[in-house]
Symmetry: C3
Subunit: 618 residues, 3 copies
Amino acid sequence: MDIYGADYYPEHWDKSYWTKHIELMKAYGIEWVRIGEFMWSVVEPKDGEFDFSLLDEAIELLSKNGIKIILGTPTATPPAWLINKYPEILPKDWGGRTRGFGSRRHYSLNSKVYLDYALRIVEQYASRYGDTIDLWQIDNEFGCHGTTYSFTDDDLKAFREWLKEKYGTLENLNKRWGTVFWSQTYNDWDEIVFPINTPTFENPHQMLDIYRFMSDSSIRFLRMQVELIRKYSAKPITHNFMVDFMDLDYRKMAKYIDFVSWDNYIATEEYDPLRQSANHSLMRSLKHQPFLVIEQQPGRVNWRQVNNNYKPEYLAMWTKQAYLNGAMGVMPFRFEQIRFGAEQYHAGLLDYNGRPTKRLEAYSQVRNETSGILYPEPEVAIYFDYENEWIHRINHLNRNFRYWDALVDIYKAVKNLGYNVEFVFKDDEIDRYDVLIIPYASYISESFTEKVRKFNGPVYMTAMSGIKDEYNWITERMPWNLIDEFGIEVTDFGAITSDEAYVFAQPVTTTFWKDEIEVGNAKVIGCFKDGSPFITVKGNRYYVGAVLDEYGWKLLLSEVLKPRISGYGYEITNVNEDGANKTYVLNILPNETKIYIDGQLQTLAPFQLRLTIRQENF
Amino acid sequence: MDIYGADYYPEHWDKSYWTKHIELMKAYGIEWVRIGEFMWSVVEPKDGEFDFSLLDEAIELLSKNGIKIILGTPTATPPAWLINKYPEILPKDWGGRTRGFGSRRHYSLNSKVYLDYALRIVEQYASRYGDTIDLWQIDNEFGCHGTTYSFTDDDLKAFREWLKEKYGTLENLNKRWGTVFWSQTYNDWDEIVFPINTPTFENPHQMLDIYRFMSDSSIRFLRMQVELIRKYSAKPITHNFMVDFMDLDYRKMAKYIDFVSWDNYIATEEYDPLRQSANHSLMRSLKHQPFLVIEQQPGRVNWRQVNNNYKPEYLAMWTKQAYLNGAMGVMPFRFEQIRFGAEQYHAGLLDYNGRPTKRLEAYSQVRNETSGILYPEPEVAIYFDYENEWIHRINHLNRNFRYWDALVDIYKAVKNLGYNVEFVFKDDEIDRYDVLIIPYASYISESFTEKVRKFNGPVYMTAMSGIKDEYNWITERMPWNLIDEFGIEVTDFGAITSDEAYVFAQPVTTTFWKDEIEVGNAKVIGCFKDGSPFITVKGNRYYVGAVLDEYGWKLLLSEVLKPRISGYGYEITNVNEDGANKTYVLNILPNETKIYIDGQLQTLAPFQLRLTIRQENF
Amino acid sequence: MDIYGADYYPEHWDKSYWTKHIELMKAYGIEWVRIGEFMWSVVEPKDGEFDFSLLDEAIELLSKNGIKIILGTPTATPPAWLINKYPEILPKDWGGRTRGFGSRRHYSLNSKVYLDYALRIVEQYASRYGDTIDLWQIDNEFGCHGTTYSFTDDDLKAFREWLKEKYGTLENLNKRWGTVFWSQTYNDWDEIVFPINTPTFENPHQMLDIYRFMSDSSIRFLRMQVELIRKYSAKPITHNFMVDFMDLDYRKMAKYIDFVSWDNYIATEEYDPLRQSANHSLMRSLKHQPFLVIEQQPGRVNWRQVNNNYKPEYLAMWTKQAYLNGAMGVMPFRFEQIRFGAEQYHAGLLDYNGRPTKRLEAYSQVRNETSGILYPEPEVAIYFDYENEWIHRINHLNRNFRYWDALVDIYKAVKNLGYNVEFVFKDDEIDRYDVLIIPYASYISESFTEKVRKFNGPVYMTAMSGIKDEYNWITERMPWNLIDEFGIEVTDFGAITSDEAYVFAQPVTTTFWKDEIEVGNAKVIGCFKDGSPFITVKGNRYYVGAVLDEYGWKLLLSEVLKPRISGYGYEITNVNEDGANKTYVLNILPNETKIYIDGQLQTLAPFQLRLTIRQENF
């Protein structure tokens, strides 16, 4: 990797500490820092009164010591004076209640007065440091704490404008939203409101547009900042995306930044290494390019109900895992543990007394094992669409279903069989992959449908695919345009809690959903316990009429993806470098494990990363 | 039955579809449709601008094809233009928060401006179609989604008027509400407010009046519509009641309509056929006359967390079960599955492509088994009072207790023993029944007490009966006026979670509540594990000092109600037709079952309905 | 004990009942009553129109019959006319929503208009009855139902004043609150707001001040009343504290009253006698003087989800337990069970018909066993600080941790070993105790630290101690000033769910938290399963690096506190009276138990209280 660094907050310390901090950075190989993203009230203590002395001094000192700088625009925390002056900046939640000052991200993305102030401070940053610093980060974690969504008057006005732009006429909107249902027809754009605390279920077509509009509002704000910075600076611009986060269309947002960064925190209450890997892969897939882990959980965090500690070796392993998945760098958050503020219990690389921790030592040493950047070979593609996540969320036959969780199960199955995974999006070219999986893809665009038809390799498609159109209407027949391609038609469906079924002759568990399949010119290769068709194949087109878990997917996929590896507790990445086929394998367990790759036994020490040169192309 | 039909929404379709729909109706025996109940924005697209062309055309086409029409008044969905003009129409919830536009039932029943607009559109319907259509439905599912309750300024004003009417003077109200407790005495009617987000428990006497007032508000609105329609039309008027619904006093409401209709959806997460049967019986009992299932769940619904599918045979069984319980008709909701709107995942009789489903076929065939109307013989009466449900809900020794659930257990016990159940109300005559059960009847009016005293047959009364007066005060002694009748006095009580007790010599489980009973001239025939009296009898007056489950009730009742049937998985109805004693028996299981009626073995195919002519009166 | 009485509400009854009530009081030994605390609307039915006739008459009749009177000021229930006139009196909850009229405690403690009216009625009480009655109670259960906290405009103004008083300058406040974190710096006192519905975690330093300010607001109101009453009356003044209640700093509040009273209700869903004992001891420790149980749960209550009954013997046992813990009296709430109001299901000493219950009989008889007042010997001190409870509540590594629950476990361990427990506070002298335990004491003041250093006996300190300063900052090193004293340093920590560890050689369960301990000149006497240090000792200074349960504490403490008793189901108190060492032992079980004290077998009848004169000082 290229970027070894940490997130740093000079403003949290008396300047007398800075020298000691920088000495430790240099001693332990911290070459990059991200700074400045929460400094608005430092640099603009009062409306229009700017004071950059502290930031100037910090940047100068860091630069003088050879530390490279990522500067974050400070727009995530509008100061008290601004909110006090214009309380209408505050966002409103789904229940219509104002979200107050006192933490962070307390702004409506459609507040004109907020945007003016935000762009003013961004311009100050950009014009002052455009040449000085090395990279830009826009704002901080758009959408965090549910702040993608806000329902103020300003948001409503902007939504109506967005709808006018999209639909042109109310007649068109009424048709697409099916407002004739429950007598919701609109005569005037101003009659359109957000469905706040409605007696019962909202209009699902309106809801999808709300999700789109809210995501677009964040993207628009990011673009405004990018365009402004571009006037003053040629340095790359990024934004820090989040783990397991689905409220924003990151694919769409990624187009406007130079590279993707993300914040790698343990995604679920129970730590699951391959789930973190799936996040890495999704982030890499957004631009199909290397990415930066701009914040890396260093040990315990502070924001869980129960904040477990992790031994220092974990930070080394997490860094190696990022490298394995194609990262260009990893930056633990944060360099210095601090004694105050809402994150006072969050671990850092220094302890509360400013002494280096074992975490810092572990991070310092791991760079020896992570030089260069890995480019995983394109092998298996999983179709992904943020809008499908929203469609699943809005209403569902089975409201317990979680799109991303279901995809992670497939991801883990493929990785365990020894293959790389890349996520692909509707506007991606897919020819270079060997195998395509289209899971739970409610809406599939006509253009992607065409790509599927032309795809040479095996294709696996599942239940819930091709059952919606772009307005979130259910299609007349299913899976819409791919009925012929797969040789089956889904004639009905229902939710299930858990059921038994068979993949080939093996029993598996299906959950969430069950299709009623009418088999055309396909062949049944798996059935439900009641004998009805569950999995069909026509040529190399597989259809799966329910939700399988990791085990079930491994069983099904192994027909086509012959297992390359045997054992457990590993993650591998296959690359082709300098003409050689290489497999990097990481032991993701805190204890020794034995596995077979290429038929050869490999014994891996705890968290060990090892490179194997393969003699054959598997 | 007389009425075979379905709920239909011509406004959801381009007119080009209508002809095909009607052809299918005729092909499959759909002779009735309910239409129009969500068409407000169609027929009055703008304030005062009426356009009945679509509805005219639909009615004409249906009529021309011999389809009979139930027309619903469209008042459940005030259009966007109306809410936009008068946002004060929107209801407020228990927390005082406005319930917004965007779904349905978004109106306060005490908004004068809403009522004016609503009655204007009803008058349009009535005057235009008074002679044309065949039946009227008022509004749609009063009270659905908690909309019985609203707490706007208009509601408060109306509540104060309602209180003035009831109490005459504040002095009287203060006394009846016990306002001296916690210093709540009122000097002025305007000091009375709804208890919104109070620090702790509300005044239980005020709460009972709130429940009554809110129920009365719906009833008043129904009456307004009924009276208006009566000016223009002589056709029968109904309203669609709901499954397991207790917010409205349906008994009181039923007086103002010509017959009861209800919407038969699976009432609980787990399907329990006899619970649906209990609902049928309650609906029949409201007027002690045949009723209509105006909406019948056809397969899966869309509004559960997990929306399971049901095989088509279930629709046939549900139809037969309605017939068994005295229905005059069953109308699956809805004829056409639709692709858009908040109910897009709800099953229908046609599929998303307009093709007949197996559900339609099953429904079409079941009419062969359900001709005529059954009139169940009066046998066992269970006392029921909506106000008692509210009393249990307001405050309770055991807040986990659910009145209706506890009654359903008794209902199932009686039915399983082979007897018909009718629910009786305080103003019903009860002489024609053989056995009377008075369960959990907190308040029993003096006039009904008198009927109990005169009742010749066995009477079973339970804990929690006769412990409240009509103002929701606890009585001085319990069970108030029936102490002598039952020969016991309840001197204290407490909540329990679960306990063991004995009915005769058999162990049973008691739950929720335990009486301390002082036995007078009664005899103890069941005791708690600690030896204290549990069940007593004086003559044929039984008192039960706790809550029994279905098993316990069967055990206790079998002394008087000798089991007429042996087996499981059945429901029976006994009728006397043309001088013959007949027993209709329905297999409620999807598999074969063997039972003994009259000592004769009967093997029933899955969901089979069979008639037995009994030789003797059991 | 001195005070045998009950809580009584003459205003709830027609005067014709009073004579009968008083006759029963006299017959059953009720010598004291508490009255008047909810009578505001009785004595001031309209603004400024006072009518004391009812209260005059009641007091006169009670006094004439020799019943002593505790008079409660009626400020907990501002009347409807007052709220109607000044709705701004109503408090607002954490979500900023108004808490409405209709129950009790519906006032903001910082509403000027409320305070004026409240003090006016208090002055009426004081001036009228200052010489007549025997004791004063201020208001009723300050803080009940979460009413310590209110967030109105008046509260905010008062909070800002409180902050000005505390911090002097905004610069100082900004520094102490660490507002540089997330850009929260204030330029103007008016920019400070309550963190209502913030997107994410609040500022923990601001939160601690909010908890302090809110507690101070109640204390200030109590002081206002005390000072006003003092102008007219020399009678002792108290306030009724609550079971398990941590929102108010009772230690601080107790300074302003003459003695502590509290309301003894079963604290948790499952009844745990020693938890009630811990509450008794905490209340006694507030002033290290006898206290009054001014409300005693008589049997079932009405405010639980499931309100179990308790046999009358329990009331006798609870009374003996209060006596055992040093109470000067016990007053069951309430004398008369009432038929109306929000507490209509609450048990009383008379039944709904005014007849004496078995509870009254049991209470009447118990006085024979509870004469005099016990003064438990100082033996074991447990350090306690309300502010530490708030610190744990505000943010935490393990948000499942409950400070008081963890302390109750230690309390039970010590009591079971046969020793008295007194809680000590930071400004207490601690020399007279033999053993000191400092559990989970986030912040320990410098002055108390000094006392610890000088303490001769064994000291046990636990994880989470000495990790915060008075502004809720984490300390640089831990346990801050006591590192040398204990010979260890905590270098890191993390939350755990449950873990195995060893005390000496015995396995125990640790929960919630795990320290990483660097051992200096201490000795390890217990370790975690991974071999890292868990319990250390340096001289007689013990450090415990996790949370132990009752069993673990008994094991650990028994090294120093040699077990004086063997058996189960008992509570003991050791006193020294007239030069004799006495041990009072109470069987807290409803069945016989056998125990050994002083090596002698004692068989105790159910709920029996027995006195043992010890030959030796254990």
